[in-house]
Symmetry: D3
Subunit: 245 residues, 6 copies
């Protein structure tokens, strides 16, 4: 089984870290194929960057020529999953949604701990659209941006633990989801300090991709995610326009 | 007052029709500045095209050099409003949301009549995110795509009237919103046959833009729609990459 | 365009202050016609007074003989809008609902800051019935009654700013609505201290009335707000009964 | 125990019929004191008439000089309960809410069958505000007005049975509430034809009033329903103004 | 009228205390028949014990040979009501649900104060399933287990008062429900300290049972609570298996 | 990895069929350990039987002496998952919830097709409690009981296809979940006729169990699902009482 793991930002080092996390939990026989988009932001902390990443990720996947069995979209709370589900036939898994699905198999409620306060609403909205908001106790922000979390893992762990503890004690969360692709790999360190299950979206999505593919299931094409209807396109794919990486 | 009216698709004729509708209701002293994106689809009937339009519209607005007092985003149910609110300081108005706001000033419930069945979910989601879903009785589809509705106004009117009547009689709607930017200009013909108020999103948005600007109000920059944080960008704006229109 | 601006309480000075606010934002050519009911409370801080005002306002409007293009009901959280929509053909705009509509065009969430704690539930209920509660972060009370807020504008500003700050910092509000007709005129002073948009219901309603009238739209008469069915009435209009002002 | 049973309309014959129903289920020692308001509509089929009744009922109760242990407000879906709870110390029971409470003790879901289609929204709103909407399968209209239902009991039974059957078979209701005070006394005839429990609001409210009074409980005065704050009133009580009945 | 009052736990002393509470509010002519299950836990503080009690209570009621007019299930937040409604023809009343129903007749919002934090979710879920969650301001825990509350009434009162005060002041509750069958009899002592109505589920259920029986109503058998379909059973009733008490 | 697969009913043939389905999708190295309870119903079509199964399943699992890595509870819409999560340390997966989780990874909405109409509410309630109801388009009944579905697979397929088609065409479902453990193994036959993904709960749960175990995660023990507090038990485990199978 080949899983295409798409980092939404242009930071190839972060792509590598995510791939390492993914490989650590992948079953024998599962190949992780990492992909970095050709344009966009090197870290994503707002709606503009998120929308840009949605298109950059679709552009990157459209121009990949190898077969794969599933796509994991590794932006936590980013846009784009619904569009990708139209472009490809194989299952598409969003890490925020997968974290929520796994969390709800483990506890009655869950919270997300993410980066900046401005991202809280975006994550709430993604969970709402995925039908996964009812048991979300809270989405909390550490106040550190994606790049900051990525740059200093120790500070990241400390900041996440602080907010996660409040989520458990004040908001009533029973499971914590790490709300940033850049936190991949820190779930054990964080969980060890908290005494509650900690779910990382990238690894959750890899395992759920294996489950769905193993069940022989694919995205429903009957309505919302049918292939694009073929309206005339100008400039697509965008990375063919010119000098993008 | 100058209102930038952005068509999400690349169809300049549709831009022109929208601008004509907008000018017909604009107050004296309001200038409508139409804008067509440089890349994307010439009609939008799926999530992929919608996400592409979100970025194309942000690209187009980013590269316009004239001052304006508000932006009207003329895609019904398309993505992107949250990103645009970060990129500009002036109020940003989405036509689906504006149609819903006006409809709820006129009746206890409203329905939307749109194009293809696959777009129903996308419109429901946009209304949900805008906090405007509670009094939405239904979103109904005519089964005609955006280009079809645009090409044959008589057929468009008939198809919309049929679904709107069901919305009123079966779903309990008291107001009808026209769920496609390409229906601009047909609201009176449709309303005359139905006996209920019919709201067109483009004209609603123009008038709400005047209202908000007239009140001296602007988008809140305290959290969700603060300016982008300045992460490094590759390839932005995209239309500078190469040969796009 | 003539807009009938109805104060729900019997305090003519407050009617005058509201009219001044309304005129300050009205477009050229819009005439504001203020109206004070003939019976009821001189300030409204409970359900009993609110219900009484609903009938007093309908009584007053029923007995006005001049033509007008819209009715603005200037009680924040008061009852009666649905009844007025049955009695008149022109659009009817409630200031609490209009404040919420405008707020949601400016930010992802909003809070209301009002008078007494006992009014919080009434405002929540009005927003709920209007389908505008989903993005309401909170309704907060200053602890000052309507008359107190009206009597001491400086104290009113300070008390509102204190609660509004908590709404932004604790509840996650991005826009503040002033939850009392008597706060009309203080929105700029309050907004200047907060750094978030502040919406006054009276001015919002005037501008939305202009928008709706400008669109050529009227209240839907197909169901909920059809004219009264003509059941026999005793004692209506009430102000004809006797010695009321 | 004395229960004040207030008919919201001015039709004394309907007051008498309600009182007869109430007495038929009242426990030994419970006295039913019927009351008809001095002004308003002789049947209530719209919001205007409903608001008028809310004030007329408060006026009537305010001017009754005998002691009572509870107030039953016998308008199904009418306004006013919150105001009455401020004016009196004893428990106040609304018949629509009481029907819903009892229905939910008997089945997983319930529907209401009422008069005109225009009243459906008003009843939905009242149930929503009372926190009783979640298990409401539907509110259905017979198309007959209050006066029509009252005038022809056989036609009323047939019309209610037809809609109730649809509520059970199509909407999944397990209990039916009779959505009009004028249907009091027909619950057994209707229930016999349907095979599901049929709840009449007047009798339900009388029995719930006995239950609450028997428990020694009264309306909470800590916040929403505290006594009116004493703002100056003009013209209250209204029936003292002049020639009202 | 004979009301079967079933304690879900095996603690006969607690059954006796509940029966005493019930008798104190029962109307003349109402006989309270207490019942203790033959197996299960002697106090219930978790889902395992709660599920066990559901079956033990059904077992006990199935093997009672005397006629009764209603069943009161005296576990606050315990499972089983839906099953019991299938097994018997008479009305079945759950004390948590009955407390919520009565509370909502007395105030706009209510809170529950219960035992351990782990029971909060179970009570929220029961209220949700009963359609009674919308006006629930909060469910708060004292941190004392069922047995502890039962053993030391003074400590129980103090702990409940502390949380109830927070429910009123912080969460906005207007009525308090005592969230544990073992608190029966303490409602007056607690209410006296709080100034808000305090509802005990056991007494509320007894009075509601009288109301429903007095109305001549029974559980709807049309769908969810029809008699069991007669699938073959092994080992039922369980208490016939062997040496249970 | 060893997965304990617990059939809630006493029908060992159905346990065998479920185990065969489970093994067909299990990964290499995953052992399926089937378990049949010692008491209860041989098919489950009501709340009484469901509650009984919850306790019978906990009884059976409590008395199994071999180690396992996860428990799959194979009753669709049955009670008990929360209790099992307290009794064991390993992850516990309910097939109704797992079907919903997988379905939502594949389409925007899903419907469940189940057995008798009386079970619709029970399934809706289970999905509601699991936080998985928001995107559930409908739960539809074939009208065939569990034993009937099990006895005649061809009739089962035809009946499920008929309701599933209505779910897709009328209710807007994009994925179908088979709402009965007894339908295990028919998903492919049904999916082939419908053109939408069909999810079987047993196989979904097995694959999700592998995913969760593979991620090294376990049930949160911080609150709702902590081990039972140790209240004294009478008669537990129940199957030790006497002559049960």
């Amino acid at each position: 089984m080949r899983i295409l793991l798409v980092n939404p930002n242009t930071n190839a080092a972060m792509t590598g870290a995510m791939a390492a996390s993914a490989r650590a939990v992948a079953s024998p026989g599962t190949e992780i194929v990492p992909l970095t988009p050709r344009f966009g932001a090197d870290a994503i902390d707002c709606n503009f960057e998120s929308y840009l990443s949605a298109v950059a990720v679709m552009d990157a996947v459209s121009t990949v020529d190898t077969g794969f069995d599933a796509v994991v979209m590794a932006g936590f709370g980013e846009h784009g999953r619904e569009g990708m589900q139209e472009l490809v036939d194989v299952p598409v898994l969003d890490i925020a949604e997968c974290a929520a699905h796994v969390a709800q198999l483990l506890g009655r409620t869950y919270s997300v701990v993410t980066t900046l306060r401005r991202s809280v609403g975006a994550i709430e909205d993604r969970l709402l659209l995925a039908g996964q908001r009812a048991r979300c106790a809270s989405v909390r922000a550490t106040g550190l941006g994606t790049a900051e979390l990525d740059a200093d893992p120790d500070a990241a762990v400390a900041a996440v633990v602080e907010q996660a503890r409040l989520a458990v004690e004040v908001d009533g969360a029973e499971v914590i989801c790490l709300g940033c692709g850049g936190l991949a790999g820190l779930d054990e360190a964080i969980g060890a300090r908290l005494g509650v299950p900690v779910v990382d979206g990238v690894t959750a999505a890899v395992r759920l991709a294996e489950a769905v593919v193993g069940l022989g299931l694919r995205t429903s094409k009957v309505c919302s995610y049918a292939p694009p209807p073929g309206n005339a396109l100008t400039g697509w794919p965008l990375s063919h326009l010119g000098g993008a990486r």
